[in-house]
């Protein structure tokens, strides 16, 4: 059997979506407070989960290619439009810090009963409408500085994929170590019990935490 199967059917889509939803919810990503605590350095779950998932999937794709299970470059690789992707990525980061979710996690927030996730989704639809309304004016930025089609980091830097994977694993290990130290310093990661109380209140800082020294916090 040769992968990918290019199966675009309903049940595969639904089934993979269910698994995606279970993974995001299990990680705690239906909670806006847990998600945004990444950016106050109190909870590194977003960085840990994302980077681990990227490394696992990238390593798996590489293994599938070198083992001959999958033809090279047979999966979709997005093309760089540097200003549109950097600008859009920055707007999503800003909207995440303010609104508490990104598109995928807002679906899980909704599925966890959060009204704020529903309102966030309504805001996203309004944001798309605003983009569509201004599309003629935005169009030059949208198409500017197109990179080579589906370029990978290995092609850009002239480095083989396994070297990139090893560098990513080393970076992730350093980042996770640093994240663990910062989490302890800023009050520890946010758990399910912290975000399911009837009233929000500030959860008590864990022993050894120095949240009070943050001033504005």
């Amino acid at each position: 059997m040769s992968f990918p199967l290019y199966d675009g059917g309903f049940w595969t889509a639904l089934g993979l979506g269910v698994l995606f939803g279970l993974a995001l919810e299990g990680a705690g990503f239906g909670s806006a407070r847990k998600l945004t605590a990444q950016f106050t350095l109190r909870d590194f779950a977003v960085v840990k989960v994302m980077f681990t998932a990227v490394i696992v999937a990238a390593a798996g794709l590489w293994l599938a290619e070198v083992s001959g299970l999958m033809a090279p470059r047979s999966v979709f690789i997005p093309t760089l439009f540097v200003w549109a992707i950097a600008g859009g990525g920055a707007l999503i980061g800003a909207g995440f810090a303010l609104g508490g979710y990104c598109p995928g996690t807002s679906a899980v927030g909704l599925a966890s009963g959060r009204w704020d996730a529903l309102v966030f989704i309504a805001g996203m639809v309004a944001g798309v409408a605003l983009f569509a309304w201004g599309f003629e004016a935005i169009s030059p930025l949208y198409w500017a500085a197109a990179g080579p089609k589906g370029q990978t980091l290995g092609e850009l830097l002239g480095i083989p994929a396994p070297a990139i994977l090893i560098a990513m694993i080393a970076m992730a290990a350093g980042l996770f170590w640093l994240g663990g130290r910062l989490e302890r310093r800023f009050g520890g990661p946010i758990g399910a019990a912290d975000v399911t109380r009837a009233s929000e209140g500030t959860p008590p800082a864990k022993p050894g935490a120095r949240r009070e020294s943050l001033g504005s916090a």
């Binding site: 889509a13 590194f44 994302m50």
Partner: protein, 171 residues
């Protein structure tokens, strides 16, 4: 009324599971996981009801309408699955709560206002970037695409920057 919620998974275990789901998606479909594509399809559908002519004529959303049934597509079935999976996980693990979740200083009304404002930025940004944290950040980076890493750098830089201003809304 509710039992004690079960704890979340260890983030490294959650990351491995998410990575395996993403890998399976690539092997089965030839592309990764996404989310924001469905908001464009919802906007095209609502637009075709409220402003049918303007939506069909629109350079960005018109294509969805002309193809007919803008919601019918892979990304819609996948996101329906995400909601279903999220519901299963939150209910079984007693983490489902009908509530407005936000920082302790914000009234629910203000929290919903920040959610809407943040949603506008994210909806606009995902249209501009041609994808979101799932489609570009997660799936794009897993293919080692330059586009995925450019997205992630911009996403995290802006997130940390804006949190310096929005901190009181969350702590």
């Amino acid at each position: 009324m509710h039992g004690a919620p079960h704890p979340y998974w260890n983030p490294l275990i959650a990351g491995v599971i998410l990575g395996l789901v993403l890998l399976a998606t690539f092997l089965l479909t030839g592309h990764g996981l996404g989310a924001s594509g469905v908001t464009a399809r919802v906007a095209a559908t609502l637009g075709s009801w409220i402003l049918p002519e303007a939506t069909s004529a629109n350079a960005y959303l018109g294509g969805y309408v002309k193809a007919g049934a803008p919601l019918a597509g892979w990304i819609t079935w996948e996101v329906l699955g995400v909601i279903l999976g999220g519901l299963m996980g939150s209910v079984v693990n007693r983490r489902f709560r009908l509530k407005v979740e936000g920082g302790p200083r914000l009234t629910p009304g203000r929290r919903l206002a920040t959610a809407f404002a943040g949603g506008i930025l994210v909806g606009f940004g995902a249209s501009l970037a041609r994808g979101c944290t799932s489609g570009l950040g997660l799936s794009g980076s897993a293919t080692l695409a330059v586009a995925g890493f450019v997205f992630l750098i911009a996403f995290f830089a802006a997130g940390f920057l804006v949190m310096r201003l929005a901190r009181r809304a969350w702590t």
